[in-house]
């Protein structure tokens, strides 16, 4: 069958993008596959820290925190998480010597059960690998780029897969096991790819919401337009306390003998953590919530919870001096796109539908690994010695529709746009001017 130029061009794109993106897809699939089981793995790893023997009555949040501060007098408390069940420990997050620790407290006896340096949390490191390859912002951009190019891979792949001429069940919707190896690898790649295309697009788009460039842009835009998350959940600042800073009690005086300055004779004092916990419970916040301490004298207490099901999410800001609820955002208060994103995120993480969700996610991860490996094997088996084995490049200018699509896609995902421009410049300035490279990349 004679292949049309458009088909060749698309195959060429799929080929090069695939080779470049393959390592990242493998990393994302493996780390993602592990991360899906975060709750199970952490339950196993930290069982001794999580579980306590049930006794008659829990002591107050303040007592838990005081127990921690007695042991670590130089620490700053940043978060508190009351245990959600009778046999679950309370957690106090502290900052000590520039490092963040979680201290597990027996809520009945105020005994410190264990401490964990947060940078040693295995699953958090897996997550860091998944989200930014442990390379910070640079890694975040690379992952975002790989994710966007995955969208190109899926669409070009579907185009190549789409049966031409007579439609056959085997080789399109079902793999052919009884033919030769080459056909088997082809079917492993294309048939799996077809079946998982929707799931892959879903994972890429929901995953992109975390990305620092595209994700932040989308979050800001939808929040500003009133169609996404309310401010302060993903983007935007929390409200500030209504109490004027000058009315707040200021404690530390430099010298012990100095009399109390007159301006400090009366001042509001911060609310006790016990009261914040009481308010959170009264307002029916999902019990795995944590309380984030105010970060400045103007700041607020934030009660925040992101449970397995998006519908249970809550973010509440409480004035640290008056106890007034300044904002109370539940899933129901998210605008339509915010709800959709929240649901997408919990499904992405394998949380929304429990075990079925985790297994579904795992199947997609294994599928992605299958697609990547079979794709590489197919290329390796076919690859001639003298060049990369991509189809011969027709001029990109031959298809106007393709250019329009590329421009639109490049604008919608600016990092892709930038990378396409770089590829174009490399091609134009270097590859086309060096004969060896021209041969390798099969350009005429």
């Amino acid at each position: 069958m004679k292949k049309k130029p458009l088909y060749k061009t698309i195959w060429r794109w799929h080929f090069y993008a695939g080779i470049l993106i393959a390592p990242f897809l493998l990393i994302l699939a493996v780390s993602g596959g592990i991360y899906l089981f975060k709750p199970n793995i952490e339950q196993f790893l930290y069982q001794d820290y999580y579980e306590v023997e049930v006794q008659t009555e829990k002591s107050s949040a303040e007592e838990h925190i005081n127990a921690v501060l007695n042991e670590y007098p130089d620490a700053t408390v940043t978060r508190y998480r009351p245990g959600e069940a009778d046999d679950r420990s309370a957690e106090v997050r502290i900052n000590l010597d520039q490092e963040s620790y979680t201290i597990f407290v027996n809520p009945y006896t105020n005994e410190l059960i264990g401490q964990l340096n947060d940078k040693n949390r295995l699953i958090d490191r897996v997550e860091e690998f998944h989200g930014e390859l442990m390379l910070g912002t640079f890694g975040d951009r690379i992952v975002e780029l790989a994710a966007c190019w995955t969208l190109i891979l899926v669409t070009t792949g579907l185009f190549i897969w789409f049966p031409k001429g007579k439609r056959k069940l085997f080789g399109t919707l079902l793999p052919r096991f009884n033919k030769n190896k080459r056909i088997l690898f082809r079917d492993m790649h294309a048939v799996t790819g077809f079946w998982l295309s929707f799931a892959i697009i879903f994972l890429v788009v929901t995953g992109l919401l975390w990305s620092g460039f595209w994700g932040t842009k989308v979050q800001t835009l939808t929040t500003n337009l009133g169609i996404g998350y309310p401010p302060s959940i993903w983007v935007g600042d929390a409200p500030e306390s209504n109490v004027q800073t000058k009315d707040v009690a200021d404690v530390p005086w430099s010298a012990q003998t100095m009399p109390v300055p007159e301006s400090d004779q009366q001042g509001f004092i911060p609310f006790s953590i016990n009261e914040i916990v009481r308010i959170a419970d009264e307002e029916n916040i999902y019990p795995t919530y944590e309380v984030i301490y105010p970060s400045s004298p103007e700041g607020v207490y934030t009660v925040s919870v992101f449970p397995p099901k998006a519908q249970d999410e809550a973010t509440m800001h409480i004035d640290q001096y008056t106890g007034a609820i300044l904002a109370d955002y539940r899933y129901d208060h998210y605008q339509p796109l915010g709800k959709l994103m929240a649901w997408g995120i919990t499904v992405h993480k394998g949380l929304e539908y429990g075990l079925a969700n985790q297994i579904g996610g795992l199947i997609v991860c294994i599928g992605i690994i299958t697609i990547v490996i079979s794709g590489i094997v197919m290329w390796w088996k076919r690859k001639p010695d003298k060049h990369l084995g991509a189809p011969i490049a027709p001029s990109i200018w031959s298809s106007k529709r393709l250019i329009v699509l590329l421009v639109l896609f490049g604008l919608l995902f600016p990092l892709v746009g930038v990378s396409i421009i770089i590829v174009f410049l490399l091609d134009w300035l270097i590859i086309r001017r060096i004969p060896t490279l021209k041969r390798i990349f099969q350009i005429r």
């Binding site: 401010p231 935007g236 009690a249 012990q256 400090d264």
Partner: protein, 154 residues
């Protein structure tokens, strides 16, 4: 066709070049609260054996209940309730004669239909002895000063 395409491109560019900043008005498109605000007016210097006026101003007129209670530092279970009288629409008054010097905590609770607050003000009455001075210094609490991030959503 070309015009539509141009429009789309311009629109995307416009969005792409807009700063990543949440507008201050954006918050009004979501659920908002109407928290009660309060301010307390007391004499600048509080003395013992003097009738002290505590003026309470609240920001809303639909107050269902307002209370004031006072306790001395260290006497956790020994607080007294002060009588609060309504003077005007949003203006209330309480009175008290402090018998001894020391550190006091005055807690006001204000309940409305949809917002409850209970701020506590620390009052310093008369001259403090050395022990009380120390208490104030030690209260330098261990909370705060950490950046408030959202990293745990991920």
């Amino acid at each position: 066709m070309k015009n539509i395409l141009l429009m789309i491109i311009l629109l995307i560019l416009l969005v792409a070049c807009s700063p990543n900043q949440v507008n201050e008005e954006a918050i009004n498109q979501y659920k908002t609260e109407r928290p009660v605000e309060i301010s307390l007016d007391l004499p600048n210097e509080l003395k013992t054996n003097e009738d002290t006026m505590i003026e309470i101003h609240v920001s809303r007129s639909d107050v269902k209940e307002i209370t004031a209670s006072l306790r001395k530092h260290g006497e956790t279970n020994n607080s007294i309730n002060l009588d609060v009288t309504k003077k005007k629409n949003t203006y209330y008054l309480a009175q008290h004669v402090f018998q001894e010097a020391g550190i006091y905590y005055l807690q006001i609770t204000v309940d409305t239909r949809d917002s409850n607050i209970m701020p506590t003000k620390r009052l310093i009455v008369g001259n403090l002895n050395e022990e009380e001075q120390k208490i104030l210094e030690q209260e330098n609490d261990h909370t705060n000063h950490d950046e408030h991030d959202h990293s745990d959503h991920h």
